[in-house]
Amino acid sequence: MSDDTHVMSTTDRLIYMAHQIARNMAMMGEAKATEALAEHLTRFWDPRMKAQIVAIAQDQPERLSPTVAAAVARMAQGWPAPDVDAAQFNAVDEAGHCDAG
């Protein structure tokens, strides 16, 4: 991060967050850290954040460390989420997918 700004884009923030978690799990060793990071992302990240980090792994793989890349791949294996209506995104301007209420 530069000295001039403290505003991250969401993409930058997700990359930063994933690597920050990885750094705090590094003492576990590569294999355990990968599993733990994948589980952490699965359990705590909202679907759009998961989708974004998966997209980053596909489109900008150079921005992810090997551990983060492996964890994202591992997470993606156990994801997408269970197929319930409430978990679906609507396309913008597409009404009627909301089953709430």
Binding site: D4, T10, M17, N24, W45, A86, D93, A95, H97, C98
Partner: protein, 948 residues
Amino acid sequence: MSFSRETDHGTPPALATGKAITLTIDGQNVTLPEGTSIMRAASLLGGSIPKLCATDNVESFGSCRLCLVEVEGRNGYPASCTTPVAQGMVVRTQTERLKQLRRGVMELYISDHPLDCLTCGANGDCELQDQAGAVGLRDVRYGYDGATNMGQAKDQSNPYFDFDPSKCIVCSRCVRACEEVQGTFALTIEGKGFDSKVSPSQGEDFLGSECVSCGACVQACPTASLIEKVVVEIGTPDRAVVTTCAYCGVGCTFRAEMRGEELVRMVPWKDGKANRGHSCVKGRFAWGYAQHQDRILNPMIRASVSEPWREVSWEEAIAYTASEFRRIQGKYGTRSIGGITSSRCTNEETFLVQKLIRQGFGNNNVDTCARVCHSPTGYGLSQTFGTSAGTQDFDSVMHADVILVIGANPTDGHPVFASRMKKRLRQGAKLIVIDPRRTDLVQSPHITAEHHLPLRPGTNVAMLTAIAHVVVTEKLYDEAFIRERCDWDEFMDWAEFVSEAARSPEAIEPLTGVKAEEVRAAARLYATGGNGAIYYGLGVTEHSQGSSTVMAIANLAMATGNVGREGVGVNPLRGQNNVQGACDMGSFPHEFSGYRHVSDDATRSLFERTWGVTLDAEPGLRIPNMLDAATDGTFKGLFVQGEDILQSDPNTHHVAAGLAAMECVVVQDLFLNETANYAHIFLPGSTFLEKDGTFTNAERRIQRVRKVMAPLNGYADWEIVQLVANAMGLAWTYDHPAQIMDEIAALTPTFAGVHYDRLEAEGSLQWPANDAAPDGTPTMHIDGFVRGKGKFVVTDYVPTDEKTGPRFPLLLTTGRILSHYNVGAQTRRTANTAWHPEDRLEIHPSDADNRGLKDGDWVTLRSRAGETTLRALITERVAPGVVYTTFHHPETQANVITTDYSDWATNCPEYKVTAVQVMASNGPSDWQQDYAEQARTSRRIVPLEAAE
């Protein structure tokens, strides 16, 4: 409850020795614990020996000579307050000689006391008046012409109470309450004999003295010498209702003493198990915000934040809220809206908000203000112990031998508990303080920390690991406890890690700035000094390694066997009144009430069956992620109950940008707070005095909040949420919060035994309260950890990415002050501003000198995130290189400075470490000027009549 004074037995209960004493008082046999005073014994028998200097929240003193009794076989007339019961003793409390003696004593008191009872503020609530009647005083033989202490000037400097020395009988109850109950030692008796008088500090007035306005002296005063201004203004109360304070996480219970629907005063309830009859300036006095003219009482809406507010009916506001949320979901998807629950609201209200979001919005986009304070506690203690809660009750501190306080300033943040802690320290417990600042605990009257480790902000994990290094390498750990209670292999891995030379106190000294020998000495004391109790606050959690620090604390407690009994444990000092409860109630986006993950099929099915909908199995967005998603265009609507994220959350620019990007922000609050500047719908909230419910304090204690007056806005907050829910198509039918608690109990195993009738009967319950623990759980993990074996987690020190450098050479840490609470929305609307009218920047003299700054100068405080201006306070409380400020005033907006960096596991913001520069200022920053104008414009209101 009708009005009656609480019974005062005159002296405190005896310390438990296990021995019983039988004696006779006025012909009645009684058996009592050894050490009980005759006065207390007589009171417990239903009698009342006349007294003036005795009261049961301070030790007996024996000065007034009114409580004399006769004891068979003993000469003279001993004071019953200072004479303990003895086996076979025969006591008479009322004889002709005693009557004569007491009248003589009372004559002397009254001869130097104004006889203005009919116009006195304490008329009808004065112990001197009562006792004069009790001893049958009918005449004062000395007349009133001699020298007296009457006619002295009143000290009316304190905004909440007056001191009239003319009415003082020099009983020292106030002095002793200040010493024994509060522990501030601000009062003394100045002069001798006839010239004796109560004096704050060194002859100063109350406001300018060390007095912290806890009210203990006022409560102790038997006359009108110390009296609440509001009692003088209104008169004495005619009824009292016991309820729970809405300020900090201590959860003090009070008698709300009323006259009709007017609150006269809040008096700490002696039977309150959290506060044991004590209070602080906020709970005792700072409740005036509830009737403040700034309160918004009518709902308001507007299409755009650039428009003025338009007052509307409740029906219109609720319908508009529902239609906007449905419109946004229809356009942008189910997950495009969410909400934030409030730690200031009741358990029942937070439960309903998260239910509205999960059941009504159909997603898990619910978060709570614990995100920005104790979310790392939830993560860290869940990982290590298996549940997200402190291990002890507050009483436990009285059994501690070594108290380790890290990242907490309880005398300011949790003052009533701090008084208990200080009492234990005065009894001889040792104190270790780990804090960058020299907090009051480090050195205060009769208390000196054995070790103060003034570490550099951001190095908590390195420090705790170094302490663990000493514990392990010097073999100070409790092997038997670890083998029985924890996973031994995990301990060995952890022990190997912390034992490495790179983690020794010597190796980390350059990082922390703390002498290695001091760290070693502190480690030895904690590990070997007897019962070791750790108390921590936001100085632990609000870091990029907040969760790691919580786990490092848990590791240390397990390694030394300091878990699972009284006097030990790991104790997070919760910030807001119901932050524990808000977390318990399922306010986090990944879990239901009782900390069960949303992906757990069995749990989700239970809720789905009860609520009749399919629930999302994916976690929702956390608050900072909601704001990110808003700026990305995928999150468009937010329901905010009792929370002011624009002022309280980090990087104000980012919060403002996120809010501005939303199409519908609904704020439910007492006031047009800073977040409401970006809101489209405002739903007026109710105060804690206006509703029923429960709060859960830092010791997991669930206590009743009782309605003492009708909501000025028309509805309690839970009713408003129900109106919104039903407008969105849900069919909620709650008539009373008790029904909501029944639903919580049915859905949450740790709350299974919590019902209002139990709370009425028991006064309070500490969860878990269920079949396995019908009376609740004061101490957790007694026979085993909730998760089974305690888990040692290796916590490597990962430095924060927030670095100092030439442009930003200082580290800013933020916190709170005694007189204010959080963003100050409540306390700024009380007379507490007398103590803290503005946020100030604490800066060390050497750093001030380098910048040519004098005390009181306006300075610019600049970080990579933004800048603001405020006045400097030059003090050695902060170390060179560290500056400190509070975040209570929106004019300052300290969070313009703080950054987006956050805890790796929970996104709890790193409020405690921001690289900054400080320089002399010419005036408010551009941002402050722009914000002031934007706030002024945003708060324009078109009244209901004009709008129609």
